[in-house]
Structures are given as structure tokens and as C-alpha cells.
Amino acid sequence: MSSIEEKITANFDGIEVRKIEEGRIEVKTKKEALLSTLNFLKDEGYGHLGLVSCVDRIEEGIFELVYILSRYLVGGEVAVDQASLIVKTEVPRGNPTLVTSVKVFETAEPYERELHEMFGIVFSGHPRLTPLFLERDIDLPPMRKDFDTRKYVEEEFESIPPVED
């Protein structure tokens, strides 16, 4: 039973598969090939999407989206190697748009809303990209590295005068 790496490389071209350590495999894929990869992996048994998160690599000018998949059941009984798979893809900081993966994993829906709110990444096809946590709409998404939180606090909160009698 060939390992998962050969399977991935066999099926997709332009994809890098690297084994970081025992039980964690990293898969780098293109933005366009993301959905097909996720589908393929889901069929391979990686049915659980643990997390969708984003790393702001400001110096390379990209957002690196990380999908963590893990596998529990293989053909019905508990899988031997509890390997978790980390799928990464990159999105340019200029116009961060990506197709939503809700169609493959419904659980991705709140994560993608949060990424939209905090990083400004637009997931096309997402059912409802409404604000999730923030009470007020802030012009620059706050989690971005170029967001100066001290300046924001200075302008927004310090400018409100204390109450004198």
C-alpha cells in the first residue's frame, strides 16, 4: 500500500509533498488546484478538516493559507498511522481572493468568515461573509501585520475625552 506521498505526486503535477516528521506531511499546492486536492484527500480518508488559518508573509507579499486535515477511519476501522496532513497555498496580498472550500468541508465556513474579517481575504462562493467578532467596521483588517494597533487605539479610544465633573 503505497504511502500517501506517492499517491499525491502520482495524481497531481506541480505539487510538492514533504514529510516534516513522523505523522505530519506538508503539501504545497497552487491556488487553482486547491479544491481538487482537498477533494482527493477527502476521498483518501482525510475526512476531518481541523483548521483553516492564514500566515501574513508581508515580506514576500503573500498570504499563506494553511488547511490541516487528519484521518481517523480507513475503510471503516481505525487508521494505523494517525498522520495529519497540512495543505498550504499562497494568495497575493494585493488582491487576496480564493474559491471557498465550504463545498468540500462545511466546517470551513466560520474559519473563512474569520479570515475574511481579520485578513480581508475574499472567499468567492461563501454563503455569508458577514462580520463575526468585531463590533465596529475597521477600514484595515486588524490581523494584518501592517495594521498598527497602537496607532488605532490612540486614534479611536484615547481620543475619547474622560468625563470631568
Binding site: E135, T149, V153, V163
Partner: protein, 187 residues
């Protein structure tokens, strides 16, 4: 209940009754609330001092804010504060309500809570222990005695400023102003 106490009771029953019967409504935000159950139950027993938790702000006169206040929870805090009947006091736990504490530079935390609602007393400590809570309460007694715990009067006096601060923070608040804002400097 010695003779001096009795005279104090007869002279200013309002102060005394407010001191020895503080019905508390806890606003459980941030990490402070975990300190409240031990303060009520057997070991520290707040009821000795007449401090009793009650179900609704209508029945309460002490408002305990137990931790950092995020932007989203400030609105319910303002509503609850305004629903309490008049002689009411607010006590804030920990350093976060004072100036934001360790979240001082977070875009989501309210740094100076007393810009939006009057706070009568702070209990320092990154989550004060029950003994500190009782120390705070007994200090509150002295404030009440000296008449300095008049947060509710300040709120009513400077309601326009409070109101404008709140509106600056949220834009549109969603409920009408509690008191007529113009020309209320009397009180």
C-alpha cells in the same frame, strides 16, 4: 449592635442600610467571575456582610464588573447599569477595566471603562482573591459613609458626556437617551 451603631442608624439610615445590604448583580465578563463562587460559599461567605447575589439588575444596588470589557460586552453593561434603581454603586475587578491591563493596545478592549459608565471603586489585582473582594467592599462602605460613592449622581449630572462618549464609540446605540441630555447640570 452597640449604642454608637444605633445612633448612626438613627442619624442616617440611608447610608447605613446601603452599606449593610448590598444586593449584587455580577457582570461575569473576563476571568474575574471564577473568584465569586468561593466568596459566596462556605469558606468566605459574603452574606455575612449583607452581600447577596440577586437575579435582576432591578433588585440590585451593587454592580460588579469582574474583568476586561470587550467592545461587544460594553453595550449590555451600559443597559444593565441603566436598569438598576438609583442609589447604585459599581465596582470593577482587576486592572483591565482601569486602563486595559495587558490588553492595553488591543483594538477590541475598552481601556478606560469610566469614560462610559461611572465606576465607584476598583479592586486591583490580576483577579483579586475573595479577601481582596471583601477589602474592596469594606472600602466601599467607607466611601458610602463619606458620600464619595456617588457614581450614579455623576452619571446623571454628566449624562451628556457619557452619552456622547458611548455614541462616539458605537455610532448608533439602539435605545433612546435615558435622561434629557440638555441642561441637567443641577442634581
Amino acid at each position: 449592635m452597640d449604642r454608637r451603631q444605633l445612633i448612626k442608624w438613627l442619624k442616617e439610615p440611608l447610608k447605613m442600610s446601603n452599606k449593610y445590604s448590598l444586593h449584587v448583580v455580577y457582570f461575569c465578563t473576563g476571568c474575574g467571575i471564577i473568584e465569586i463562587p468561593p466568596s459566596i460559599t462556605a469558606r468566605w461567605d459574603a452574606e455575612r456582610f449583607g452581600v447577596k447575589p440577586v437575579a435582576t439588575p432591578r433588585q440590585a444596588n451593587l454592580f460588579l464588573i469582574t474583568g476586561y470589557v470587550s467592545l461587544k460586552t460594553l453595550k449590555p453593561i451600559i443597559r444593565t447599569y441603566e436598569q438598576m434603581p438609583a442609589p447604585k454603586y459599581t465596582v470593577a475587578f482587576g486592572s483591565c477595566p482601569i486602563d486595559g491591563g495587558m490588553y492595553w493596545d488591543s483594538y477590541n478592549t475598552i481601556n478606560h471603562l469610566d469614560k462610559y459608565i461611572p465606576i465607584d471603586g476598583y479592586i486591583a489585582g490580576c483577579m483579586p482573591r475573595p479577601e481582596a473582594v471583601f477589602a474592596g467592599i469594606t472600602h466601599l462602605w467607607t466611601l458610602i459613609d463619606e458620600g464619595k460613592a456617588d457614581g450614579y449622581k455623576k452619571y446623571r449630572r454628566n449624562y451628556s458626556q457619557y452619552r456622547s462618549n458611548q455614541e462616539r464609540l458605537y455610532g448608533e446605540l439602539g435605545w433612546p437617551p435615558r435622561f434629557e441630555t440638555e441642561g441637567l447640570e443641577n442634581e
